[in-house]
Amino acid sequence: MEIQKQLKSHGAWVGKWTFILAATGSAVGLGNIWGFPYKAGTNGGGAFVLIYLGCIVVIGLPIMISEIIIGRRSGNSPINAMRKVAIDSGHSSAWQFVGWSGIFAGALILSFYSVIAGICLNYVVIAASSSGVISASEEFSNVISSPINLLFWHTIFMVLTALIVAAGVKDGIGRMVKILMPMLGFLMIFMVMYSMINGDFNKAMTFLFAPDFSNVTSDTVLQAMGQAFFSLSLGMGSIMAYGAYMPKDQDVTSTSFTVASLDTLIAILAGLAIFPIIFAFNLEPGSGPGLVFVSMLSAFNQMQFGQLIGPLFFILLSIAALSSSISLLEPGVAYLSEEGVLSRRRAAEIISFFVWLLGVGSALSFNIWSDFHLISERNFLDSMDFLANQILLPLGGMLIAIFVGWFMKESLIKDEIGAINPVIYSLWRFFVKFIAPTCVAYIFLSQIF
């Protein structure tokens, strides 16, 4: 009865595809587009992809299923969901710490993610109007050296995120993912087709998929494990919050599998869209902001119809960023509104304001605060990244796996997971009990030390 009441206050997804689109949108972010293809290409190509898929099965999927089970069981935000399920399983309500940690990590990530996503928005304009007179690296330096410019686009991006989340689960997030995700898919296919026709597609295929097992080391396995964990938006409460709005008749296992498959597919398509262009213009393949803001812009400046293709590419990046950012804001907003502390709209405004304020520090760390170090030798942005991605997320993911694997009542799990092949269920239990926590602990320790 209480669960139904809470669901009513947040709303629920309409149709089974809304959750899939929302969770895929949350998982597919800038990291997939500018990180996965390069990691794959430099770590053994097809060999890395195979190891990564294995890691998705033994780490990513078990934790994702666990998050959805907890979220849907309670129908609440991650904090209340963890507390409620822990109490229902006869354990301490202190497990709500996992929810707090996720929400806090999400807010920290959103603060600098919004600055980077703001640069993507800025590049839509830059790519459309770039004459090629200024080199791409000079253009990037100009962009990041201007605090006003960074803050302007950071503000625009945060306002967009807040507006969508404030509008609610059904009318805001649900409606937007139904528009954004097909648009992302269409743009991605268009970019791949463009690269197929004009880029050095064969070289990109070899770079991404030709298996080279001689390149596989223990570091490759660690990279694949990290990619499998971080790319699915785990440990930050987003999937748990989205799971709370999932219809009861939707199958958790197959839905999680679909989300993980779509996430991987988009990351591979991103590689097939970017690297043929990079190779065609004899640019060095790389990852991160350097790849998209310098190398890609340089290619767009040189290519035919670059002023049309370039903006489309940066619109694609911005959509991917926006679909992730709304999932980072949602858990906190859901918590404040369900507690009755604030209305949903007010909660979105207030959390967004604090996140924006934190983001100011990240924006300034590109220029006037570049020498300011917060945690050891890290600047403000890197410190936020360190706290969220290297400490809170692995900790959250590990605790979620431990909770579901060792503490959550099995009857509650079976109730949520529904009819499932007993072999698959046993395998999932084994992975979530032993493999996933161990691997995430390994990722956590390797990042710290």
Binding site: M193, M196, I197, N198, D200, F201, N202
Partner: protein, 167 residues
């Protein structure tokens, strides 16, 4: 009672036939997929051969599809038009083969994309198709789309300056 049993058997047979049709249909798609992927994986001279094989296979299939019109119910609306269109698609199949023979590979590929997709729209407009069950309709739509995509992938390979086997 025996009427019910006979009805049930007929429904079951119909369901089976649709499953068999879609299975055969997807098996028939395998060569399209195979020949369109081979060039991207192996490149070199084998790529040209693979694309020519794909075109030859496609020309046979589109000719076969055109011939299907002869088997449709004679007393349906516009059946004379349907027969003419069937002949047209069979001739398109022959022309794809001729264009390939005379080395107009790109033109043949583009005609293949258009002809497979347009044949689906033509078939969809017939009275008989409207009476088909939903699964068959979905299967036909998906199969036509997949075949068209396979030809698009090969067209991209042929247009791409880094992979075109002629240049």
């Amino acid at each position: 009672m025996s009427l019910d049993v006979s009805c049930a058997r007929k429904i079951k047979e119909k369901m089976n036939i649709n499953t068999i049709k879609s299975t055969y249909g997807y098996i028939g798609f395998i060569p399209f997929a195979f020949f369109s992927i081979i060039p991207w994986i192996f490149g070199g001279s084998i790529s040209q051969t693979a694309i020519i094989f794909q075109l030859a296979y496609g020309s046979i299939i589109i000719t076969f599809l055109g011939g299907m019109a002869w088997g449709w119910r004679d007393n349906q609306d516009k059946q004379i038009f349907n027969l003419s269109m069937g002949i047209f698609y069979s001739l398109v199949g022959c022309s794809i083969l001729l264009l390939t023979y005379f080395n107009y590979v790109l033109l043949a590929l583009l005609i293949s994309v258009v002809s497979f997709q347009s044949f689906y729209y033509f078939e969809r407009s017939t009275q008989d198709f409207k009476k088909r069950d939903e699964d068959y309709k979905k299967f036909r739509k998906m199969l036509s789309l997949l075949v068209a995509i396979s030809f698009l992938i090969s067209s991209a390979y042929w247009i791409n300056p880094y992979s075109n086997p002629i240049t």
